[in-house]
Symmetry: C2
Subunit: 216 residues, 2 copies
DNA sequence: TAGATTGTTAATCGATTAACAATC
DNA sequence: TAGATTGTTAATCGATTAACAATC
């Protein structure tokens, strides 16, 4: 069990893209697919695909490949899209609202069961069927609902404080949308949704691209 | 010039975190900082930090380190935060609105100069001082404003189509928030803001974390 | 059987870390 | 000068790619 799963971000991105590719395929019920085909379609090395699939799936059959339906299920399972975790959201501002309205979130394995804010006007209102509660009650409610995942969508200045409050409520994983380095004990995992870095990389690549291909 | 800059995502994430760390420091005007200190504060290997800084900055002085003010400026320059690019946004739904209201975006080097949607009710309205225009006019306006960056924040089904329209308007870099593999010519760069993958990784880490440290 | 596809083993590449000499 | 910090060169580690044997 749990025999040393690689943690490379790239692996996960690729698996996710294979999954998207297959799901968008016209689906015959007993269709098969091979790493070679996926690789060609996505412009990735085919050995890469085979290795990746070997990590996430039971493996296919020589000359036949993988049964598409099963492979999709395997990837969804590996990526955790098939069993939902509960999560709480802190910060019902713009980003918070976006996440609350993003109904696909459940497809990707988490369900927001409660949202918190400190703004009196927001407390008591609801987005979809998630009520926005007073952040004062957060730690307590996290404990009671036995939630492990907290989403931080508050302004940067409050992020650290909110994060600590989540942790005091027993949260073990923080999905952070604030542009801040959160400091947490080693028992807690943080994943930064880091728009600034994404942008920096995008623009670097753009610059290289233009240097390489010129304009037009 | 442009002497082979490494493109590793991790490098950029780290540089960004060093920058955040320094900016949050109480600032004396002529204070210095060393890679050792940064490394210790962020829990990173100190040689790593030194190498990273060497890539983005002119370098510090032995025994003294870097002048904080200058180092901040160098990192901001390297990450492109000091000169803004214009961008257009497609899709004025939840995510689009969040991006439009996210005034920090300019701090991170891009400015949204126009937004587009296909929804008649939205066309003509504005968010902040960005007007939402008919997506029909998009390619044309992109050309006229000579914009290189397009942000895709439309539902997955329309993403590919919208992306092609952007490209026909001369866009060379696409920041994609739709959970889709966009296919683009090699002259165009795509950066996926890939929440699903982030979530998958977060949950894997959470699982490992709990396996390692147990509950409580 | 022949051939496509698989999984595996070895080679390459790049990024991280360790060791060390240079310098203010 | 002594010592902290720098940059550099070599060693390690991990991820990607290439070569190949196994199999339906």
């Amino acid at each position: 069990m749990s025999s040393k799963i690689p943690m490379s971000i790239m692996l996960y991105k690729r698996l996710n893209s294979y999954l998207h590719y297959m799901k968008q395929l016209p689906l015959g019920d007993s269709d098969n697919i091979s790493s070679t085909v996926i690789a060609a379609a996505l412009g990735v090395n085919n050995v890469q695909v085979r290795k990746d699939l070997a990590i996430a799936s039971d493996g296919g059959k020589p000359r036949v490949g993988h049964m598409t339906k099963d492979l999709i299920a395997d990837l969804e399972h590996f990526l955790g899209y098939d069993n939902c975790s509960n999560a709480v959201l802190v910060g019902a501002g713009n980003m918070g609202n976006t996440l609350l309205s993003y109904d696909n979130l459940e497809q990707y394995g988490i369900k927001i069961v409660a949202a918190f804010d400190c703004e009196p006007d927001l407390i008591g209102t609801a987005v979809g069927n998630v009520k926005i509660l007073d952040v004062e009650r957060m730690a307590d409610i996290c404990r009671r609902l036995d939630v492990n995942i907290g989403i931080v969508a508050v302004p940067p200045l409050h992020a650290q404080e909110v994060c600590e409050e989540l942790i005091s409520g027993g949260i073990r994983a923080v999905w952070n949308f604030a542009p801040v380095n959160l400091s947490v004990p080693e028992t807690v995992t943080v994943k930064n949704e880091d728009m600034a870095t994404s942008l920096a990389i995008l623009r670097k690549q753009l610059a290289e691209n233009i240097e390489h291909f010129g304009f037009v």
